[in-house]
Assembly symmetry: D2
Homo-oligomer: 326 residues x 4
């Protein structure tokens, strides 16, 4: 069974991932993997941090003559463009709603605070790597996964222009924006999952997607809109389409009783606005235990929605592999 | 580590649960456990199914002289009031958005279709049992978990009278209603969880809560409302309260970077309207593979929100035990 | 994936097992399962305890119209012939080399001490049940598992007469005997397992077999005899047999590098002599903390080798299902 | 909970390990870790392969200012002294009783065959790293683990001189020798483990130790010698030593009913003779599917017993951490 273990810190020597359970014989299409990493990479638009790194993974193991061997696959991305001095001065000042404070508490003060350390969004690069491998496994099985920006800064399905305008406006005010990403998994057979804890399809997707930083909620199909529906509206009537059982609507998001029903799996995740903003914020100095004000300098994204698309797709691809017992 | 395995079918001989990893020496307060089961039990209001069962668990193992032994604890609830004849006639007609169709596909047609079989809401009784044991473990640690109806049938925080009125109106129209339950976990220390897949606090809660039938979405803190917030609104400023670091708001729902921050963990789950409604619905006969109309008879709840409260609390209690490594 | 969770105590209400991951559609051949339980059952020879119980499992879930549904399968065996008074008097006197003392320590004195409680050999009945289900899964795949008594009371491959003579001699002296059981798994394909921790075929077999009480060692192929061999003797030369690669010898016991090689998997387990003997023994009173002498009364087996055969086979069958990813 | 994932191939770019669940705040004593790696390293005696590598790990993550952070710890050892040309010519000729054949089958011919690839004994270097971290965790808890050569080439507890003589004799005949290593874990409290599958102390040790290449058997205490003992001989009588319950003998190897009893855990593992020998051997060409003769060239150890000592200790240390829930 495909498993992944991500390691690394924003300002440490390197980040990476070990994938176990990769079936042998998969042609590791590095061009595709790199294109996925590039979708996530910073520095490609006015909306992103100015940090620029090649994000070129080095394969340490598990691949031989271009194909996976079935042994653990380790990929490493070196950290090259780190400016640790940006963070020293705010070492004791946790950024509100970031992992600084909880990381400090959980580690007894031993966390690598530089750039968020292991909590950094940079750790989504190895997740994209893992997700790209999962996509390669799903490709010959006819399963595709796409994500799009469903909502951003209060705008439903914004155009690129609307999005950029809203993001630049937020940045001008030293602020950041959030939104909703919608993922769609097509080509899944009916019958994957189970109602039980640990095997439930929705629970499996959720476990992978909540491991993406900034995700604060997930729903399937009509999601929280189901709260206001009657059963007769929410239920998806069955019909026949060329001998195959389908549903006329998909308010269930392709899952009933914890098991896929053959329709597209459709899910929404809410991405909270980036917590690192330049606007002054109240915080507590964890060394002196005094209340104080924090002004984050460094380089930060006012919006991560577009960069998060391949991350969400990758996390979903890993969930699908788990569901398909790959 | 506390684990639970739920077994049984709605119309089989019995339902139950095996709990492993229960610490030895816990006084098994059966009065409390029974009171939790009674909160969930059917037949106590006009809003519920008329099915009446004592739901009295029999402890088969793991308890000696009133205390847990640390060995696996098995509790069994016999099924007594089953009317299987209600279901025979719709054996081949899956109810839209219920687990009938997916259960049929996943089992190659070998599922116990009577009353939804293993997919039945009745299986939440052993979950409540497990959750009650988890609550007993959390009680001396000062952790409490409560759930309330945040929204039902389109009404925000309805009064009991409003709720009953809305539910009876739906039932009169052979229909059902959905809603949102809000759970609050108080007394958790900061520092539980991790950002990583499998250890992430939000992912752990989600995995337990999606295993509750009818849950189609989960969010933390301000949830999907975060999509429209700016970072400066969404971020929870730190302040000092008697030497303890707290946050002035709790839009994060008590979790940052996958780790508890010491504030209440607050989550919302959306409960879809009960799929079993009497109103005629379109379906497909799985034996003859013809489109047809379904009229569900049997006994069904037009609203399960109130009965789901101890289920959601119990699932959350199990998640908390997992987080606290109990 | 097939998992089993065994519960119960020797003198509690019942013992049983929950099996999850049983594929749907398996005809549950109860006659076969009962025959396996009868092989293990006590009271069938002069060598066993006089305790007599029908050991008839009641299926609570997971089976519908004679076939498995894929939902968790719970089987329960009621305890009927319990004589708890036998044990009360030695409540505080742990039997040397039994689980009494460690069970006491691990549970902080809350263990069910009657008849060994959860540590009793009686708990192997649900293991045999689980193993029989595993055998049913393996049968259509052509995999068979057999165990035999390789050594008993110092006699290599004893005849039934030799065994009975040795056992009765031990019992006459209020003593017990040990031995070695050899298991053989035939029909396994090459390529199952991996060298890595957790996936290693030998480690998987060992984990299942050490969960059988009284097993104190396990080895594969030539086992501890390999210590005195040269590589040239120990290595199994490859040859071709009808186009299939085989080995001329099987000192490796069918496993190389943690992966099956297509030859029979052959393993030995050493079964320690039953610790419950009537002969007076030194022990410590755990309540008064004084050294004292213990005379075990109750009913005990001077030899469990023959009864352990279906247990070892069943444990190995579960291991094989795990290896085959069933 | 401490987990390790080892990756790499003998002739790939690098080998390494990711450790998750390492508690934060551990001073990572690199001098100690290096000394353990050096104990295992090749090229230090006439008995070993001439391959020489510094085996200096590079820490990529999880350590900050000399202390662990609680985040995943990745250590990588580059492969520098690889002579891949040695292996090309025997690519299709599996070495008897090595992982070549099973690795080929399990991967559908995609395995990295050079030097045994992922099956190489070289992969024990990251295992020693992981084990050394485990030892550092156990040190302040007063738990120590030592292994010694109990038997080699037919000689019981050989002196270094006897061992070297026997090994050189084997090498002169292009052969290799096996033996038995005895591990002793001191300082463990009573009460760790459980009788149940997955929690059983013996099963846990076995799972870790069988993941060490060349281990073909494991036993506890008197081990296979228990087969010929009577219960009255094998049972370990309890007595009091300064108020603490101890056993007068330790035939149980410190474990009863799957739980530690407070005495030293003592186990034996049999190490098969190294399969890579220069003496001509029968094999099958997997490409042409013809029987043929194999002469292994390359560099190989005629005896790995001494190099295996820190590996066995490290594997046992990881098992102890798992048992102690570290």
């Amino acid at each position: 069974m495909l498993k992944h273990e991500i390691f690394g810190e924003s300002h440490g020597p390197a980040i990476g991932v070990v994938l176990t359970g990769v079936p042998a014989g998969l042609v590791l299409d590095m061009e595709f993997i790199q294109s996925e990493l590039t979708r996530r990479a910073p520095g490609t638009s006015a909306m992103s941090t100015a940090r620029r790194e090649a994000d070129t993974p080095r394969i340490l193991s598990g691949v031989f003559e271009g194909k996976t061997t079935g042994a653990p696959l380790c990929a490493v991305i070196e950290n090259t463009d780190t400016r640790s001095k940006d963070y020293g001065k705010i070492k004791d000042l946790p950024r509100p709603s970031h992992g600084d404070f909880t990381g400090f508490v959980a580690s007894g003060g031993c966390n690598d605070y530089r750039g968020g350390g292991h909590f950094s969004g940079r750790l989504t690069a190895p997740l994209v790597f893992a997700g790209a491998v999962a996509k390669l496994l799903l490709r010959p099985r006819g399963v595709t996964i796409t994500a799009l920006i469903q909502r951003a800064a209060g705008i439903e399905t914004p155009t690129p222009g609307q999005l950029e305008e809203a993001v630049l406006a937020a940045r001008a005010q030293e602020d950041s924006v959030g939104g909703i990403l919608r993922g769609t998994v097509s080509g899944l057979p009916a019958g994957l999952g189970a109602p039980d804890f640990g095997e439930n399809a929705e629970g499996i997707f959720a476990q992978y997607l909540f491991a993406v930083p900034a995700v604060k909620g997930i729903s399937f199909g009509a999601g929280f809109g189901l709260a206001d529906m009657r059963g007769s509206e929410a239920n998806d009537p069955f019909y026949l389409d060329g001998g195959r059982v389908k549903t006329a609507t998909n308010h269930s998001g392709g899952i009933n009783g914890g098991i896929t029903n053959g329709m597209d799996v459709v899910f929404d995740v809410v991405i909270r606005p980036t917590p690192s903003i330049s606007k002054p914020q109240r915080t507590v100095n964890l060394r002196t235990m005094e209340e104080t004000e924090l002004v984050v300098e460094g380089r930060h994204d006012p919006c991560i929605l577009h960069r998060a698309l391949p991350v969400i797709e990758g996390a979903a691809a890993l969930a699908v592999c788990r569901l398909m017992n790959l």
